[in-house]
Symmetry: C2
Subunit: 239 residues, 2 copies
């Protein structure tokens, strides 16, 4: 059962969400069932990049992670693309047996039994601005598959007022889930413009807007966090 | 028992440490037993600003917080100066009775019985670059006063290699404490230059250095986080 791997890099720090700042190695899988309008990892999403994705065994992935981390266990972050499309159960068992822990980020469109083996699961359904539709039944199936074992967080990306209203409604349906709001990066680097310099002023303005918007509504249950790696490394790959 | 208050503002988000991104109202007390070389809140530290600090009762402080938060309970962050110099037990009782929770940040130089009433306590002993000396006995007294109730985090600010080595040693002495490392802002705004524009490139370079330094050492138990408010609001007061 090989796993399609777009890239493995680190150790660096997690740049977003509930685990922001935590040292981690990223394992990014290739392939996605979504195509978000503002996707910042098209190289791991679009079929035209398929030849760049290496089919790897769980053993080969862990060998690479162990080399990067000097055999010192740390958090492995599974991202994509949509890592939920891959057969990751063996990787989780092998990594755990070596003392590593796992966080995974997925949009919640595909449930897998092995979600229950994760240590952290970030479910990030996509808002209207992405062009994708939120499917609550599939999302609930992901929650059910995860069960009680992983710490589950809801992360909602917000580009505009319509996304904000959508996020309020989704969050109200899952009041028991810890919640992170993240301002959308409107102009991510793309395969065609990998060196695009982010307009940090625009990005910061968006974060300030989101803080003002949420606090004016007295929406105090949501953490609001930017993508640190965009602020710090400007979308550069491999950090 | 009046409390010396430098400023009360919010709701905004916590910009640093383990609670980064959490909506909060800040209650900043006036007065400090330290004078760190790179202090970013001298207006709440130096005796020459004493006349700017309002003596307030717990009731008056909570009235202000309730007005700011529209009576909707949220996290109150107690900062300073050194808030551990103030009589805060009544404020904690009153706030809790209204549903508010409390996080406090202090250098760990002064212990108070009421630490045990806090929900979160960040102990941030100062590194060599501050010009202040770390006193382990006083720090341990703070830990003992806190007991089991608050979630205690160790936050270490790092300006240079000497601070980094010091941080490694301190962290090794408290392996059970969750740890955050924070790159020092070398040029904070001061009362004389309140509008100083932070050199974000220099600040980011320092964060990148710290991430590289810690990951090269395979120091994976420490979260590494910048001061978001500096990146986003550029040291501006009141946000």
């Amino acid at each position: 059962m090989s796993i399609a791997i777009s890239e493995i890099f680190g150790p660096t720090i997690q740049g977003e969400g509930a685990l922001i700042g935590v040292p981690t190695v990223f394992v990014r899988t290739g392939g996605c069932d979504y195509r978000c309008s503002w996707c910042d990892t098209l190289y791991a999403v679009e079929p035209r990049f398929k030849d760049d994705w290496a089919p790897m065994s769980a053993e080969a992935i862990m060998a690479e992670v162990r080399a990067l981390s000097g055999d010192q266990p740390l958090l492995i972050t599974l991202s994509g693309g949509n890592p939920a499309l891959q057969p990751l159960d063996e990787l989780l068992s092998l990594g755990h047996s070596l003392g590593y822990t796992f966080a995974m980020e997925t949009q919640g469109s595909r449930a897998q039994d092995w979600f229950a083996q994760l240590d952290h699961l970030t479910l990030s359904p996509k808002p209207p601005s992405s062009g994708m539709a939120f499917n609550p039944a599939r999302f609930d199936a992901c929650l059910a598959a995860a069960g009680e074992q992983p710490r589950v967080t809801l992360k909602l990306v917000i580009a505009d007022e319509a996304d904000y209203q959508w996020a309020r409604a989704v969050a109200a349906d899952y009041p028991h889930l810890p919640l992170c709001l993240q301002p959308c990066n409107p102009a991510p680097a793309t395969p065609e413009a990998p060196d695009l310099v982010t307009d940090l002023e625009a990005l910061n303005a968006r974060l300030r807007w989101l803080v003002d918007r949420a606090t004016a509504d007295r929406w105090f249950s949501a953490r609001i966090l930017p993508q640190l790696h965009v602020l710090i490394w400007n979308n550069e790959r491999g950090v």
